[in-house]
Symmetry: D2
Subunit: 365 residues, 4 copies
């Protein structure tokens, strides 16, 4: 299913206590460096990374479009093995295989206790790895609030089967979960990149009858059909009109935005029925305008929800159960595989959008 | 898929304005009679019945266990064709194929406007057909509040594909919908009769990862597996213990009761995790006791919900979309077929629980 | 409490079957005309109006800013007495005092059955009176779907005590109800016109601890304090900064927009905490922009809800209970009173915003 | 407002590192002992207690009706001052005045991350203080998971103003919060002990129009009226009949059970309308039977929810805001005050139900 690595990871001849890490050096500059293996403080754990991947956000980081400090290790997705447990972390053991969500909430601050764990400690604060702390594209990574975030991976599941649950599946599913989908509803999903494809899976899991997906890329539309879309439409100026017709003028019950552009947001609103929900997981930049005609001038009983990827081990365990019970198989999204040593090539491919690339498996150990 | 009728329905040689109807004559006595074809008053419609079925409730009625007036036509499930539209019913035409839920809410009383449409006008008041009004086991049936209840059936769907949506599927699905199931949750369902089997379908549609079903009947357990159960357990004294083990002591997130006995209710509560939901659609008689040890002495943050079959055309349309999009196929539940003239034999078989009977298609026209 | 009318309504010397009605004749032109008293068809009722009022929307109509057909009777708020009941309307009697919401849903169409009654039959379709049907600023008004919409007024309540429940209170309260307010939450409300003031009442009824209101008008801010605001701020460029400080940088849990301008919408979003809800009941025109910095670039777990005034008799009864139990007294909003014959003067005053006018009682009979 | 203590707490002449603690010695035996002052480990804090109180649960403990280990310090309610902070607890300082809920969730286990914080770690596991750990009726108490549980008390609030938020108010309010109360609803509350009285406050805060309370004790009914009850009924065999009449046969929207007996539970169900919610916060013993006639034989669309007191600092802060903004004043419930040295007398009074006692303030320092 996965491309085989062309060569096994080379034996690491690093000094004791030293590891490889993919480090941001400034806009447009990044690459593998040697760093000290982190040590686990109170409530923390260190994971030896087995598999990681590259996210669209990482591309924004290396291009300097999303600011992080120079010297930061990039990456927020990982499956690995517990290397060290700090004091206060209980119920785990060194050597145990675990995964951790891209979002690592503390569980104990005001936002977490209010249920807004992705906003841990403040706006977007649940995203720490590869953002405000060293990330996962390295031999080892320090996991904060380990008690809340280390999710044990069942032996029956491979690293590849679970790696995408850490971020894009959790995000894509949440688009559906927050969309107020009822059994038999009609859902439209705008954009079928990795997150949009996971939203398609999520809409199906949530009981939608009709799932209409829109994307410019034929290959992605085909995969969407494999993932449960009942109607795949290529992007075009008449797409909202076509969806209106498909729903006999009624509009869709839930519209999911999975890209973060004015066009997809606007289209999502234009096909939404009065009383429906627009669930947005795209990251927007610049301006976002609400077309008031599609918004009933503010009287359409619409709901717009935005969601940052949910994390925490409880969610990770639930999502892994969906894989264990064969309800979800995300491995078709892993179109290519690289070793950590070749991560530069992996970034090149991912940025090129070439060769049908969707997500990359980066094998670390 | 269905047993063929041994003979086509005989040409009806009834006087003009007269029809056949299966009438309750008193405890233990019922059968076909001639009755006047009803006429549609304001807001009403008359349907020429094509297909109906027999419900467990009908058995209680003919036995005199559930009181209805003598002379009532039995039955509350029907697919048919509009025969007459009363004044004030708009957007339909005579000859149009329609179905109507077992529950026919008015949409305009206090409970309906509060969203409790099954309790239309008062306790359990949404159930009118075959209860407080003549029902569907007849050539024609009068539908009250037709504007709210006539659901157009798409040409692509057969009568057999939709007949079970009128009651048992709507009920079984609602058990899941009201059960607060999250993606990846574990659900246990007690009893796999027709409603329990539909609850299994509903749990799967709602995104459960693990669906554990319990029933004494091996054949029903097999069908449950076809319908999405991930673990089928034969009833027995150790069943709660086995479910506890399957969930590693955690208990299930949602427990569905689909029979209406002390044992199934109690077992449902015993396997439920703290904070979980017991969703009950069984009809209880006699006494119901809550085992306080399983109930955390009232401190377990449990939720118990009961649901009477939801109706109304909007729901029927949504459920039909699930059939149209091939997400749901309930026809395996229709194990036998009879003509209306043979409805007595149909009741005999249904009461006998023989020959693997689950639900019967009663062909009227 | 109310200004006394300077003269009692003059005896009407109209021909039998003829009534007075305030009619839209074209942009900028409207006034009293004689019209035939309507007659009640199936499911309808005719109400003899006792008290009505003027809404901001009516101003948009007479100015030609909101299009309605020429010849339409204006007005959508009324308390009156049943004059005639059409066939199919049961449980009422001629002479009974009733009120009806500005929104008169049928209860039987797809949107109504989905719970979106304000969107009855299609976008904004629940608003019929004074929009697509003759309205309430007349001696008599025809009420559609009377069974779902005639709410009996208890003898203990005056017309003035309940008239504002038909629209602005139902709207303002809904802003709070849809805002996900938890006990002890902090709510900010932008604009304290009649709807905003009712949102203040609604926020208090919903258990908010801190209610911060913003308006340019000192008198309205004072009334807001009487209605439950804990902090009243005059509009100004630093208002979001001041609210940030009041909440110690945390932001508010719920922000209510009650005007329909870019500025108030934007301010509402700027003071909203991650994970919070922006509940909008304003009517927007032109463009609406979402400030992405305040929106977490779409990752703030924000919810934006819009609401059109909810209607139906069940809601009206519930809101009347709040008045009966002395939890709500909206009569201070009725700053002026006129007779129907003087409705032209009433419009003049209402448009001038002079004399501290908030809402007008128009006495019809 | 409070009874003055007859004498100021005597200077403590205890050896360094030694404190007073009210210890359970076995069924019927308890009293002050000397114990070592606890020390804060990772993630823990030690609080010097200023004010505590006695809960009904404590009475069950000292009588041996609720099993705890011998030697345990009793009590789970406290306002105090931070004496020591363990490693990993940030954002606090020694000497800061804080309170902590009776329920002290970790925020990081599966149930906590699923939002079931009162069931932290397992059934009822959120209740640690005075149950599985030494409690608050002592000079010092160790607080587990301090980061999630230390709630800073504003200077403007006295110890007496906030002490009851730790348990009975949080519980009583939650009965209303979980009861699905809509604005204008009718609520009946069975039993008006301290928790029931707080449920009355909670129902009012939640927007109920009519709040019907039932209790045998006239004094408690009077206080209920002060707290917002609109109708106070003395217990009696006809109480459900009277409530049925008060609601014109409709039944109440929400029924709250605040005692934990068969009679109050049954009465709550008997007055509940179809589709309504029974919210239970009582602790039951022995058997609990569900009267099936009042339960619609399981078809009444009823919801029954049980709730264990919610905790965590975020909730405590929200509840304190209700006191700060003068929406809630619970001090009338503190009918008597004692010093810790006199805690034996306090237990005597509390158990006697004499002298109109509701809750006791136990002054520690």
């Amino acid at each position: 299913m996965l491309l085989e690595l062309e060569s096994a990871p080379a034996p690491k001849l690093l000094p004791r206590g030293i590891m490889r890490a993919n480090v941001f050096r400034g806009p447009g500059r990044f690459g593998l460096e040697e760093k000290a293996i982190p040590e686990a403080g109170y409530g923390e754990a260190v994971i030896r990374v087995r598999l990681t991947t590259i996210c669209g956000t990482d591309i924004h980081i290396v291009r300097g479009e999303y600011p992080v400090r120079e010297g930061l290790t990039i990456g927020h997705e990982a499956v690995g093995v517990i290397h060290e447990l700090g004091p206060g972390v209980e119920g785990y053991q060194v050597g145990q295989r675990v995964m951790t969500g891209a979002i690592t909430p503390c569980g104990q601050c005001e936002p977490c206790l209010a249920g807004d764990r992705s906003q841990c400690g403040g706006p977007l604060g649940g995203w720490k790895l590869g953002n405000t702390m060293d990330g996962t594209q390295a031999d080892y990574v320090l996991i904060p609030h380990a008690q809340a975030n280390l999710a044990s991976v069942p032996d029956a599941l491979s690293d590849e089967q679970v790696i995408l649950l850490t971020d894009i599946a959790s995000t894509g599913f949440s688009a559906a979960e927050r969309g107020n989908i009822r059994l038999g509803d009609t859902v439209a999903i705008f954009a079928q990149g990795p997150i949009g494809l996971c939203a398609t899976v999520g809409a199906r899991l949530s009981g939608a009858a009709e799932i209409i997906v829109v994307d410019p890329d034929i290959n992605r539309l085909r995969m969407a059909e494999d993932f449960g879309a009942t109607m795949a439409l290529q992007s075009g100026p008449d797409v909202t009109e076509r969806i209106r017709k498909l729903t006999k003028g009624r509009g869709v019950d839930t519209a999911i935005e999975a890209l973060g552009t004015q066009e997809t947001f606007e289209n999502a609103l234009r096909v939404l029925r009065p009383g429906g929900t627009l669930s947005s997981v795209g990251v927007y930049s610049g301006h976002l305008k609400v077309p008031l005609d599609a918004f009933g001038a503010g009287l359409g009983d619409h709901t717009i929800v935005t969601t940052l990827c949910p994390g925490g081990k409880e969610r990770m365990h639930r999502l892994m159960r969906l894989v264990e019970s064969h309800r979800v198989d995300l491995t078709p999204l892993l179109t290519h595989a690289f070793s950590l040593d070749d991560i530069g090539k992996a970034y090149d491919l991912f940025q090129s959008h070439g060769d049908g690339v969707l997500k990359l498996a980066i094998r670390v150990s």
